[in-house]
Symmetry: D3
Subunit: 71 residues, 6 copies
Amino acid sequence: MPFVRIDWFPGRTLEQKRELIDVLTREICRIAVCRPETVNFIFTEVERDDWGRAGKLFVDEYEYENEPAAQ
Amino acid sequence: MPFVRIDWFPGRTLEQKRELIDVLTREICRIAVCRPETVNFIFTEVERDDWGRAGKLFVDEYEYENEPAAQ
Amino acid sequence: MPFVRIDWFPGRTLEQKRELIDVLTREICRIAVCRPETVNFIFTEVERDDWGRAGKLFVDEYEYENEPAAQ
Amino acid sequence: MPFVRIDWFPGRTLEQKRELIDVLTREICRIAVCRPETVNFIFTEVERDDWGRAGKLFVDEYEYENEPAAQ
Amino acid sequence: MPFVRIDWFPGRTLEQKRELIDVLTREICRIAVCRPETVNFIFTEVERDDWGRAGKLFVDEYEYENEPAAQ
Amino acid sequence: MPFVRIDWFPGRTLEQKRELIDVLTREICRIAVCRPETVNFIFTEVERDDWGRAGKLFVDEYEYENEPAAQ
């Protein structure tokens, strides 16, 4: 009965989300031994001015994460 | 001291949310025995391309949920 | 597709949770117009020394909430 | 390894979030004894018609919270 | 910067969690294009008398999910 | 109306939580301009075998976080 939530920066495409939910559901069912119908996903986009680490917002830490998908 | 969070698809009206928080707070207080002032609600809308089940996003599963409120 | 989470103090019985999920699901479906199979619930118990308000833990605020179920 | 989430009404400025994450991270590390690099923050804005208490949405309770920042 | 939370029934072993976080992190990084150091996981066990669907707690729905791992 | 949730490793004392909620509520109210009665806190302890980063559970990464409070 896994319920999966993924918070991430904006920028992922519909195609990436489609592949993610397909692949991750399959791997979860294989490893945790459950049926695909019981696996739910919710993706939540969090802007860089609403997310921070080490006392700084990511919007102020340009170098932190070099993600092609988010450029 | 119940704190209630409801994630759902977009499409509910202010009137539906008003009735929901009113009725659900009353029922929670009656059944769980608490005072209305202690019951908090947060509603969060999740788009169909950010929510999925069984390895598929709901945006790709047209028939999944036939909800008049969401048409 | 409502997903409902309720955080509350420990002390509710199985019977109270049974009635709550039954009644709340029915009211949510009636008001938000959805099918019962799409409504999920998760209850989470939070101890009074892990919950607070106004700068104080509830464990230190004896009078705050007079709940028969939690006595 | 604290992971901090703050839900609040919209209206806080980037400057307020910057100061909050800076000050709160420092206080958390001082009191809970951890390193700043392990402290994560996510801020989430919740509109007044998606948040309620005591059976009412905050959008319908004009007097409830007199917050200069939210005017 | 994905932050992943998985709620599920109790019963998974340390070995299953180890394999899951390893495999899922790799797939997330491959598909969403990010670095492994930015992917966090939190697993939360939810008992069958705290989780329900369609107006019933899972503890009362013996047949619902036939999971070898949870037997 | 800030609602604050902090997930962390087990090991903090009641005294640390008392000081945290007191100090953080005061700083949040000062910076975000709100009244203390509107600030809620929930602390959640997450074990090291339920939390991971970079493809590994923290229980397998002995050196990761040198926290006196958690020893």
